[in-house]
């Protein structure tokens, strides 16, 4: 390299370094609550972080909220696990998570409140080229569990043909597709399989990432990864999040409603039906929610002879978690605490209209009431807001 090339290289390195350092400095300054804080003249900024699932809903709702009330809500989509950690470290004003806090995390937080703010469902999707398009297959919980356990390996297995006579001649091995990234979708799906299948509960269990059984299985990254893996792979079955399936017009299966034995399509109505039914047994917002599971509650209620027509079984809440006593968060002022509570009250009531537009399932009235009751417990320096 000649000397002019060398000096040009050095020059460009210096320029890149200056730009990078300037960028980092700007980022640090603009993120530092100490400088952007809460002088009366500056607009109030609320920060939240967590679940990727609710990102569109929260960011859209936050946009309209700012248009209307001038309060800025920053939501960082960093995943439920990271969101919980940021919440526990008091680094954000609220956390958002697809699973309730574990008992350990709940005790660590001391005064966490759970506020269910959106509803998720899981939809089964499959790719069988021989079937006419938009054929809706029927599934029971046991059959889904056996497919994912690798016990049902062919599409013309008697258990499947009994539910779907159309499969009688499909002598093809089943490829199961699952989420390879940790996700709330996997959380509710494995929770469902654990509550319908003893064997699943004992060998696999439920969680945001699990040890997938079965040898003919495939992991896709994200809902779009699973959806394209199913679309790409003939004779495969996968599960995707309801919102994603609805937005992308993905062909889905019907799942047995354990309380009636009917096969139910996943729709906004059938999902909110389950939610309003199960919501009656939810704990108070300031209690330990770690064992709350709509899937499990619904199946237990079905076993004790409650019947509910048209309810889709694989549903879950996603939660916002906040501290009951907000003054423990650094840089929190009374005005900001009030703004946070106002925003959350709006989010679980009027804000729900944006849920429907974005294909999220809106909260039924009973859950909205529970949330408002929870939010009325919030205090700042011991005073109610």
């Amino acid at each position: 390299m000649d000397s002019s090339g060398m000096s040009r290289l050095v020059l460009s390195i210096v320029i890149v370094a200056i730009v990078a350092i300037g960028g980092v400095a700007y980022w640090m300054l603009s993120n530092n609550p100490g400088t952007s804080g809460s002088q009366g003249s500056q607009p109030i900024r609320i920060s939240g972080a967590g679940s990727t699932f609710v990102t569109y809903f929260l960011q859209t709702a936050a946009y309209y909220y700012q248009q209307k009330y001038g309060v800025e809500v920053d939501y960082a989509s960093i995943g439920s696990g990271a969101g919980i950690q940021q919440f526990l470290a008091n680094a954000v004003d609220f956390g958002a998570t697809d699973v309730p806090l574990s008992t350990q995390a709940w005790q660590q937080a001391g005064d966490a409140l759970h506020i269910p703010e959106a509803i998720g469902g899981v939809v089964l999707t499959y790719n069988i080229p021989d079937l006419p398009p938009n054929t809706h297959l029927n599934f029971t919980g046991e059959v889904i569990a056996d497919i994912y356990l690798g016990k049902i390996t062919k599409w013309n297995d008697p258990a499947l043909v009994k539910l779907n006579p159309i499969l009688a001649n499909i002598n093809q091995p089943i490829t199961t597709v699952h989420r390879s990234d940790g996700s709330g979708t996997t959380g509710v799906f494995t929770d469902y399989l654990s509550s319908v299948s003893q064997e699943w509960a004992q060998t696999v269990g439920s969680g945001l990432s699990v040890n997938w059984p079965g040898t003919n299985s495939l992991g896709g990254k994200g809902s779009e990864g699973v959806a394209s893996a199913v679309k790409n792979t003939p004779y495969s079955i996968g599960y995707v999040e309801f919102t994603y399936a609805l937005k992308n017009n993905i062909n889905y299966g019907y799942v047995e409603n354990p309380s009636t034995g009917e096969f139910v399509a996943p729709t906004i109505e059938s999902i909110s039906k389950t939610v309003s039914y199960v919501a009656l047994s939810l704990p108070r917002g300031d209690q330990d929610w770690s064992s709350v599971s709509m899937v499990r509650t619904f199946i237990q209620m079905s076993k004790s002879n409650h019947t509910l027509f048209g309810a889709y079984p694989i549903v879950t809440f996603t939660y916002i978690v906040i501290h009951k006593e907000l003054s423990k968060i650094p840089n929190m002022t009374k005005e900001k605490a009030q703004a946070l509570v106002n925003f959350l009250k709006w989010l679980v009531t009027d804000g729900q209209q944006y849920a429907t537009n974005l294909y999220y399932v809106p909260l039924p009235q009973s859950v909205q009431n529970l949330d408002l009751q929870t939010l009325s417990m919030v205090t700042y320096n011991g005073m109610n807001l």
Binding site: T52, I78, G79, S80, G81, A82, I84, T97, D98, V99, S102, P173, T175, H178, S180, D181, G182, S183, G184, T190, V204, G205, S206, G207, L208, S209, V210, N211, W212, T215, N216, S217, L218, G219, G220, K221, G225, S228, A229, N232, T233, S236
Partner: protein, 302 residues
């Protein structure tokens, strides 16, 4: 000469910064993963169960997957990259050269997530229908050619990585060929060397650069997270055929880190990062050793 001194201090400070950053990085990774090594010890590296629900963590198949994908990528990329670099620097007319060079460099500028999308949408179905299925029907009796074919897997990830590291190896090798004194090339031609013979002579002379280029390619392939995560199929089992799905260390981390809600799961992923860090360091040390030994032999030869 005061300016010179200040300049020297600035340089010292910057180079010290590198040492500090690497040291802190390693320390932080070790600290974050210490609870995993306390519980599982070396079993973390040697065992194959990854079960976040029950809190059992072992990454042997993941480490194997990392090496396998890189190995496949290098085997496919090295010959193509070397021949391409020879072709560009020696055979392409100089007016066309700039276009072909920019095309190769463009390949390096494509973000890895775009490679991943292309992998899912184009490469996976193409390989499955046109390569894997015929391959299996031709060699089904051989071990390692059975199993299900989904198109996703270690082999696909390796092929995708090969495309991604191609420009790295090609452009470094091309630079080295162009910097080679014309006298060497002229001597080869004067002796009546065929094209492939003169290529061999050239490659022998830039052996060191080629090794460095390969090591850089290895580093890129070994650290690639996003594109691999999208096409490898995410399986924690040891591969049972060449079509099997698998995992690599970076893709495991990028997949599970954001939603790791239990402290042990979290620290298992940091431990995977620590293993990755150690292997990357080892890669550099090995590269240095190879270069050191080769140069010593060359000095002896002279």
């Amino acid at each position: 000469m005061r300016g010179d001194k200040i300049f020297l201090y600035i340089l010292l400070f910057i180079s010290a910064l590198f040492v500090v950053i690497v040291f802190l990085l390693g320390f932080e990774l070790y600290r974050g993963s210490s609870s995993i090594f306390d519980i599982f010890g070396f079993n973390f590296i040697l065992s194959s169960t990854w079960d976040p629900v029950r809190g059992v963590f072992g990454i042997a198949p993941v480490i194997l997957g990392s090496f396998l994908t890189c190995f496949i990528a290098l085997i496919l990329a090295i010959p193509v990259a070397l021949l391409t670099s020879y072709f560009i620097s020696e055979l392409v007319p100089s007016r066309l050269k700039i276009y072909i060079t920019s095309l190769v460099e463009l390949l390096a500028a494509v973000p890895s997530v775009v490679y991943g999308l292309w992998g899912i949408l184009v490469l996976v179905p193409f390989l499955r229908d046109n390569i894997y299925v015929p391959l299996q029907s031709a060699f089904y009796f051989l071990p390692g050619f059975g199993g299900a074919i989904t198109g996703y897997g270690i082999l696909t990830a390796g092929i995708l990585l090969a495309i991604m590291i191609l420009p790295t190896i090609t452009s470094i090798t091309k630079e080295a060929i162009e910097l080679l004194p014309a006298s060497i090339k002229e001597a080869a031609i004067a002796l009546g060397a065929m094209r492939y013979q003169s290529a061999r002579i050239i490659f022998t002379h830039i052996k060191l650069t080629i090794i460095a280029a390969i090591m850089l390619g290895f580093a890129r392939a070994f650290g690639e997270a996003m594109a691999v995560a999208m096409v490898i199929g995410g399986s924690h089992l040891f591969p049972n055929s060449i079509f099997a799905t698998g995992y690599t260390l970076p893709s495991l981390i990028v997949n599970e880190f954001t939603e790791a809600t239990s402290p042990l799961h979290y620290s298992a992923l940091i431990a995977a990062g620590f293993v990755l860090f150690v292997i990357a360091l080892a890669n550099i040390v090995v590269a240095r050793l190879i270069i050191y030994r080769t140069t010593r032999f060359m000095r002896l030869a002279i």
